[in-house]
């Protein structure tokens, strides 16, 4: 267990969270990417101490790092990439349509919050 690694994970999570709580989609995407890095490191940390690469027959010292968290982290990295690309496409589209890349408040939700009826179709069921 390496303290400095745990500290790095904490910083990555904190900055990621900070960026996530903003309006700008670009910042949100970057925040998600940081959270992804943090999560992958955390997976490795939780898996146990470092060691030699998990290749059969090549370890010399006998201490091999745990392969399962590595497999999980590997898929996580690629998934994060897919999500990232999707969100960037979303940012691009948001820019192309409305000339900003910000996450707006949901109008319908605001109306409900203001105490107005959201729409007609939840009324009828109650009759």
């Amino acid at each position: 267990m390496t303290l400095v690694l745990a500290g790095t994970v904490a910083v990555l999570y904190a900055v990621g969270t900070y960026l996530l709580l903003q309006r700008t989609l670009t910042r949100i995407v970057i925040g998600l990417a940081l959270l992804g890095h943090g999560a992958n490191l955390l997976l490795l940390l939780a898996g146990g101490p470092p060691g030699e690469p998990p290749l059969v027959g090549e370890a010399t010292s006998g201490v091999v790092s745990d392969p399962l968290p590595q497999a999980m982290a590997l898929t996580a990295i690629v998934i994060t990439f897919g999500v990232l690309a999707f969100l960037l496409a979303l940012a691009y589209r948001s820019w192309a349509v409305s000339r900003n890349d910000e996450v707006e408040d949901d109008v319908e939700d605001r109306r409900v919050a203001a105490g107005k009826r959201a729409s007609v179709h939840d009324e009828e069921v109650g009759q």
Binding site: A10, G47, P53, R93
Partner: protein
């Protein structure tokens, strides 16, 4: 074979909408093939199942380790239910083809849903796996929803359908919970296995209580009965099939299956008999107030379902036998009566007994059919209903039931008296009276023929009980192993049961004779809180609470949502972590100098991002973080990860550049919804929680890593030396398969988003061209 039958129903249902384009309403006759085949199949097995008491077991393994299997079992009780479900079903399909006008719209969709229902009901009575029971149970609820809402242009139909779905759906959830609890307690998900070795203990008691709630909602027991009368908004074939002959008996069926094993639990009999008796009386009482002949029958059904619940619920062999007879009798007479009401409705355009008059002259066949069926319902000899009721009295009197015995007897006598009264009210209301002025067209025999068949069966089986004797006895034995054959007969001598029957009939006749006074009294009586009122109040309450909660929780701001989620994640598990977490005794190292250097770099780059005001700066810093993480992977002994991380980081940078070239170089300056200090503190809290979490996880390992097994098996079984790769493509390949599907989805999402964006730009260009 059961699977093939279910498949046949599915295929027919799929074909129905297509065939309907050419056949019109006659498509219903085509659909009748499915239940007819099931009936024939059941009859073919009759000699083995009924005659020799065998059971046909079919086992289709699916996920055996999770107890999920396609287990079907045709014992005599299931066979009796199949004959009811599919036999009456076949008649209903024929009846429906005559019932609907030739111009009915979307008859194909209706036929499809009705066929799916027939298949679901068939599956339900054949299923021998509790999860399968639940699946078919829910399928009947959903098809019932669709069928009640057939006339979905009318608000009443829609709300009735919703009410039925919500009530039976909530009950279905209770059933699922109960079944899972019981199956876990018993250690088997097989229904027959569960019932032959019933689990005990507190968990089983809760499980069975949940199962009962499910059964009560489905079989319209007090206080969940309001949906059944409301469901009369459905076309009459649906009411006759689902809401009297079959689906509402699903709850009764489940009680019948579970009662022999669980009736001795202390709470079972008081609960089930109490609810059943209450339902009998409430249903009968309400039936006496109805003017709509169909509603009258619906409340009658509620009452009769209560009767069946009482009888099966007693759980003694004698009572089970009586209830089995009753379930047959009820299917026959109630199906017939509903079909007659439908015919009357089609021919006269009304079902109101205050408007109907003198129909016995215009519809003589329907009149005689109704007389027989109503007499069977009232329990008059020589009909099957009478035999069933006699058996019921005998059954209750024979058992040692303590206080529930007298309660059940009283309930049945009062309920039967009410039944006699509303049977009379029905026949007199619909058919008696002077010839009405309105001209009624000639009776269409095709509409009454199916009902006539059912009534004839009531009569035949009453006169010659031998016809059903073997079936009912075998079914009762299948439901209750302790049952010993007893022959049904019309005449048992002057017994107490006969006396009770006479009392009930006399009481009912008296009630009917003084009907004017009864009606006045009913009108004057203070209105008891009605179940439908209860449903409405519950529903309105749920909606109001939902609206208020939504208003507070869903205020439309994404950052606020995220903050709520994150703070919950920090405080709840965080508090548990601090209070209860096992702080590790593992030794910590600070890390090598190289590691410290890289970590500092990553942390510094990440922190700077938070303050970057240019997009490109932020992205470049993100790249720095990514490459540092890749370096940390190398140090940890994960070359595959490091390679992937490097490549991904490079590709991410390229994509960022591709998108950012369209966006302004600086971030916007709109005020944020959450104050900077709040955001900062939330982020710090999250960071702290994660730090604590990573410390605890390091020392939390209690078992040997599962990957040791992977390491050992990689070469001999996975045939690879790179264990990470072997895990990805072999040991955990299903996860990877799911993952690449996610990647494909993301890729398709990107394509559609960007292409749609291009289109709108083209449009903008086009409109700009127009304006110049």
């Amino acid at each position: 074979m059961p699977a093939a039958l279910l498949g046949l129903h599915a295929v027919v249902a799929l074909a129905a909408p297509i065939a309907a384009r050419r056949l019109g309403r006659r498509v219903l006759l085509l659909c009748a093939v499915a239940p007819a085949t099931a009936t024939v199949w059941a009859l073919l097995h009759a000699s083995a199942v009924v005659g020799r008491g065998e059971a046909v077991d079919v086992h289709v393994a699916w996920v055996p380790t999770a107890g999920l299997n396609g287990d079907f079992r045709l014992d005599a009780f299931a066979l009796l239910m199949v004959l009811l479900v599919s036999g009456i079903g076949t008649l209903i399909f024929g009846y429906a083809a005559a019932y609907f006008p030739a111009t009915k719209r979307d008859v194909g969709g209706f036929a499809a849903w009705l066929t799916i229902f027939a298949g679901a009901m068939l599956g339900l009575v054949l299923a021998d796996n509790v999860i399968l029971v639940f699946v078919f149970w829910e399928l009947t609820s959903i098809t019932s929803f669709m069928l009640i809402g057939t006339n979905h242009r009318e608000a009443a139909s829609r709300s009735a359908a919703t009410q039925a779905l919500l009530t039976t759906g909530a009950g279905g959830l209770a059933l699922l919970g109960g079944l899972v609890v019981l199956a876990e307690a018993a250690g088997t998900y097989s229904l027959s296995g569960l019932l032959t070795a019933p689990p005990g203990g507190e968990a089983a008691a809760w499980g069975i209580a949940l199962v009962l709630v499910g059964a009560f909602t489905k079989s319209a027991q007090v206080p969940f009965h309001a949906w059944l009368p409301a469901a009369m908004a459905a076309p009459t074939p649906v009411s006759a099939y689902l809401h009297s002959a079959t689906m509402v008996k699903a709850g009764v069926y489940v009680i019948a299956r579970f009662a022999p094993a669980f009736a001795l639990l202390p709470a079972w009999r008081p609960l089930v008999v109490g609810v059943g008796v209450a339902t009998m009386i409430v249903g009968g009482y309400r039936a006496l107030r109805q003017h709509d002949a169909k509603l009258l029958l619906a409340y009658g059904t509620v009452s009769q379902l209560g009767f069946m619940v009482v009888m099966f619920g007693l759980g003694t062999p004698d009572a089970t036998f009586a209830a089995t007879t009753l379930i047959v009798a009820h299917g026959l007479f109630k199906g017939a009566l509903f079909m007659v009401v439908g015919a009357v409705d089609v021919q006269t355009g009304t079902r109101d007994i205050r408007e109907l008059s003198g129909l016995r002259h215009r519809m003589p066949v329907a009149f005689s059919v109704s007389c027989v069926a109503a007499a069977s319902m009232a329990g008059l000899p020589p009909l099957l209903g009478f035999i069933a009721k006699e058996a019921a009295y005998e059954g209750v009197l024979a058992g040692e039931l303590g206080l529930t015995g007298p309660l059940a007897v009283t309930g049945i006598v009062v309920g039967s008296a009410l039944t006699v009264a509303y049977s009379l009210r029905f026949v007199r209301g619909v058919f008696a009276g002077p010839r009405a002025a309105a001209v009624v067209p000639r009776e269409r025999l095709i509409l009454v023929a199916p009902a006539a068949l059912l009534s004839a069966a009531s009569l035949l089986m009453g006169v010659a009980p031998l016809l059903v004797d073997a079936l009912v006895n075998a079914a009762a034995t299948a439901a209750h192993p302790e049952w010993e054959t007893y022959h049904l007969s019309l005449w048992h001598g002057l017994t107490v049961a006969l006396g009770l029957s006479a009392v009930a009939v006399a009481g009912g006749a008296a009630l009917h004779a003084s009907r004017a006074r009864v009606e006045r009294w009913q009108a004057a009586a203070p209105r008891a809180p009605s179940a439908s009122g209860g449903y409405d109040a519950t529903w309105r309450g749920v909606l109001a609470v939902a609206r208020r909660t939504t208003g507070v929780v869903q205020n439309g701001s994404l950052p606020l949502y995220l903050m709520v989620i994150l703070l919950t994640a920090v405080t709840l598990p965080g508090a548990v972590l601090v209070a209860d977490g096992e702080w590790p005794t593992a030794t910590y190292t600070i890390g090598s100098w190289l590691q410290i250097g890289i970590c500092l770099l990553a942390a510094a780059a990440a922190t700077t991002i938070a303050f970057a005001s240019r997009r490109f700066t932020a992205v470049l810093l993100l790249g720095a973080v990514g490459y540092s993480v890749a370096a940390l992977f190398v140090l940890h002994g994960a070359p595959d990860l490091a390679l992937t991380q490097m490549l991904i980081e490079t590709l991410s940078l390229v994509i960022f550049v591709l998108v950012l070239r369209h966006l302004p170089s600086r971030f916007g300056h709109r005020p944020q919804r959450i104050d900077r200090v709040v955001r900062f503190s939330t982020a710090a809290l999250v960071g702290l929680a994660v730090f604590a979490f990573s410390l605890v996880t390091a020392g939390a390992r209690t078992a040997a890593p599962v990957s040791q097994e992977y390491v050992a098996r990689a070469l001999p079984e996975g045939h690879g030396r790179n264990i990470v790769n072997v895990i990805l493509v072999d040991f955990r390949a299903l996860d990877t398969l799911g993952e690449i599907v996610v990647l494909v989805t993301a890729a398709l999402g990107i394509s559609s988003l960007v292409v749609a964006g291009r289109l709108s730009r083209h449009e903008r260009r086009a409109s700009a061209g127009d304006s110049t």
